[in-house]
Symmetry: C2
C-alpha cells in the first residue's frame, strides 16, 4: 500500500511537534519531501534564527528533490526574515508539488507564499489535516489573527471544585503525574503568568525544571535551553524582591505602581494601571503578544484566574481534577460571583483523560 | 472457534442485566445451558415470586439438558423460598457441569447450593467473571453481607463543583441525556431517597417516568410495572401533604416527630430521631435493608447528601458534571466543612464518560 498524502502530512505534523518546547516566538513547523513513494527528506524548525523546516528537509533530499512533493505543516514563508524565504527555496529545489496543511495565519500575508510557488509552475494544495496543524500553533495563530496571545488557564481542583483549604493550604491536591504535566505546559509556553497571592503563599518560582518534564533526552535538552518569561501580576508590589520568585531569575512585573528597585535587581517593571484599581490584564496581554508571546500559561489563584475569566480573556482551561473532596469551606475554583443560572458561563469540554490518579479536563469557553 | 466458558458466562451476565429494573428485592440472575457447543437454553429472573433464571433455561433445554453445562451468574439457591431450590432442579435435569460466577453473598448459605450439586456427582466451578457478576448485584450483595443497602448518591454539578445558584435556582444544570440517565438510576433502585429542601424547592416527585428512560420496549414495560419506594427525610415535617411529592403516590417519611395525618393520607411515617436532632440516617438505612432494599439512590441537596458523606454511609457517587461555570457564590456539591488538607476525603474515580453534553463521573470513597 502506498502511503497517502495524509500519512506524509501526519509525519510532517509529528516532526513539527518536536519544536513544541523550543520554537518560541516562531511557529512549530515540520516538512517531509517525498519522491516515488520514498521519503527523501525530513525537517523541523528547531528554534528562532535557525533554518526553517523546509530548508532542513530540502538539504537532506539534495538534488533528488527535483520533481518531488513537499509536505509542510504551515504555508512556506515568502518574506526575508532572519532566514531567506522558504517559498524561494522550494522553487529553486525544483519540487513538482507542494502540499500545505494551512495558510499563513497572518491575514496580511496569507496565501502569498503558496502564490509565489504556484506562479513558478508548481502544483499547490492547502488545507490537508488543517485542524491538527492549527492545534499545534494555537498560540501563534491567535497572536497573528488578533494581536493577543492564547491564554491557557491551568487549575488544580478537587472533585468538588475546590483549589485550596480556607487557610490557603493547597499542597498537594494533585499527584506527581499531574505536576509533570504542568511542567510540560510551562515548557511549551512563551509566558508563565501568576499573581502575588500564589507566589507569596506557595513560594512559587514558576520556572521549568527540565528533570521533571518526563520527556525524552532530545526534547528535555531543547526545553532546558529556554525558560519561558515569568510574569507576575502584583498591582501593589506585595511580593518582596528577596522572594524565591525573584531569586529564580529575571522576571516581568505588571503593577499599578512604579518602583526603581526592580530594574536595579534585574527585573522589568511595567506600570499598567487599569480603571478598576487593578492591573489592566488586557493591556498586559497585548504587550506580551507584541513581544512575541504565543501561549500564555496562567497559574494563579481563584482571584487572578477569576479576573481573566470575568474579562473573557481565557482561551482554554486545563483543569487537573483530583479524586478527593476538599469540602464546602474550601476555596473556589474561580472568584466568579454570579447571581442567576442564565449568567452561567458555558464551556465546551473537548477532552478528559487520566493523568496518574488525577484527571485532566480540557475546556474552552463557548463564545 | 468454540466459544469459551467466559463467552457463555458473559451471555448469562447479559441475560441477568435484563432484570436490572424488575427483580427487586431479589438479585438479577442469568443462566445459559450449553451442550456440544450449542446453547440449548437461556433464562433470566424477571421478578420476585416468578421462576428463577435456571428454571427458565432448563425448561427451554428440556430433556436435552442431560449431560449439558449450566452457566449461572449467581450460585443456585438451595432453600425453599417462593420457588423450589434451583440446585435440586439442576440435579434433576441431569446436567454434567455447573459453572457459577459467584457464591451466594449471604455468609450463612454461601457454598451450600454448589455443595448440594457437587454431592450429586456434578462437576462444579465458581468465580468465573466474578467481578462483573458482583457489579450487577452490588446492592443485593451489600445487603446480604452487611445488613445495609448500597447507597448511591446522585449529584448534578457544574465544572466548578456547584449544584445550584445561591438562590436555590438549579434547573437545569445538566441536559436531557443526563436526566434520562438519572431516570434509569431511579428505575434500577429499590429506594429513591430525598430531603425536604429538594422536594420543596424543586417540587420534586422523584418517581420513574417510563417514557423518559430511553430504554427499549421490553425493559420500559418491566420498569413501568415497579416504582421504587420513595423515601423523604423530613425531620421537622416541613413538606405539606398537598405537595406534588405526596400527591404522586404513597411514600415513606422519616422524621423526628410523629403525626397521624400521614397514615391517613396513605403514607407511612417512621419516627427515627437521631442524637443530633436530625433523622438517624443509619437506622433509616438498616430499616430499608430489612424491607429488602438493595440499592438506595440519594437525590438530595448538599445538606442531606453531605450528611450521608460525613457519616461514611456513601458507597458510590454518580456525579453528572455540566460543562459550565456557576461561579463562586453558587451552592457547594456537599455541605462538608473540612479544615485541613489531611481531612480531605479520598475517592477512587472508576469511570468518566460523556452523557450528551455532560459528563458522568463514577467515584467510590476510599476506605
Amino acid at each position: 500500500m502506498i502511503p497517502s498524502d495524509q500519512a506524509y502530512m501526519a509525519r510532517a505534523l509529528e516532526l513539527a511537534r518536536k519544536g513544541l518546547y523550543s520554537t518560541h516566538p516562531n511557529p512549530r513547523v515540520g516538512c517531509v519531501v517525498v519522491k516515488d513513494g520514498m521519503v527523501i527528506g525530513e525537517g523541523w524548525h528547531v528554534r528562532a534564527g535557525e533554518p526553517h523546516a523546509e530548508v532542513h528537509a530540502l538539504r537532506q533530499a539534495g538534488e533528488n528533490a527535483r520533481g518531488a512533493t513537499a509536505y509542510v505543516t504551515l504555508e512556506p514563508c515568502s518574506h526575508f526574515g532572519r532566514t531567506p524565504p522558504c517559498a524561494d527555496a522550494l522553487v529553486k529545489a525544483g519540487v513538482a508539488r507542494v502540499v500545505a496543511a494551512m495558510q499563513d495565519p497572518n491575514p496580511q500575508v496569507a496565501g502569498s507564499g503558496l502564490r509565489r510557488i504556484a506562479e513558478a509552475g508548481i502544483a499547490v494544495e492547502s488545507g490537508m489535516l488543517e485542524a491538527e496543524a492549527r492545534e499545534i500553533n494555537v498560540g501563534f495563530i491567535k497572536r497573528m489573527e488578533s494581536g493577543l496571545p492564547f491564554v491557557r488557564v491551568k487549575l488544580a481542583m478537587s472533585l468538588d471544585g475546590r483549589t485550596a483549604m480556607a487557610s490557603g493550604e493547597s499542597q498537594w491536591i494533585t499527584g506527581p503525574a499531574a505536576r509533570r504535566a504542568v511542567q510540560r505546559l510551562r515548557a511549551r509556553s512563551s509566558v508563565v503568568l501568576s499573581g502575588a497571592d500564589t507566589v507569596l503563599l506557595d513560594n512559587a518560582r514558576l520556572n521549568v525544571r527540565p528533570e521533571e518534564l518526563g520527556l525524552d533526552a532530545e526534547l528535555t535538552a531543547l526545553a532546558a535551553q529556554r525558560q519561558p518569561l515569568r510574569v507576575l501580576v502584583d498591582g501593589r508590589l506585595r511580593v518582596p524582591l528577596d522572594a524565591p520568585f525573584y531569586q529564580a531569575g529575571p522576571a516581568l512585573v505588571a503593577s499599578c505602581a512604579a518602583d526603581e528597585r526592580y530594574a536595579a535587581a534585574g527585573h522589568e517593571l511595567l506600570a499598567l494601571p487599569g480603571a478598576d484599581g487593578h492591573v489592566d490584564l488586557r493591556r498586559l496581554l497585548l504587550e506580551l503578544a507584541a513581544r512575541g508571546a504565543n501561549e500564555v500559561l496562567v497559574e494563579a489563584g481563584p482571584r487572578l484566574a477569576g479576573a481573566f475569566a470575568r474579562l473573557g480573556l481565557v482561551d482554554e482551561y486545563r483543569i487537573f481534577m483530583a479524586p478527593k473532596l476538599l469540602g464546602s469551606s474550601a476555596r473556589p475554583l474561580l472568584d466568579l460571583p454570579l447571581e442567576r443560572m442564565a449568567e452561567a458561563r458555558e464551556l465546551k469540554i473537548s477532552d478528559i483523560r487520566a493523568v496518574g490518579d488525577d484527571w485532566l479536563i480540557t475546556a474552552h469557553p463557548v463564545p
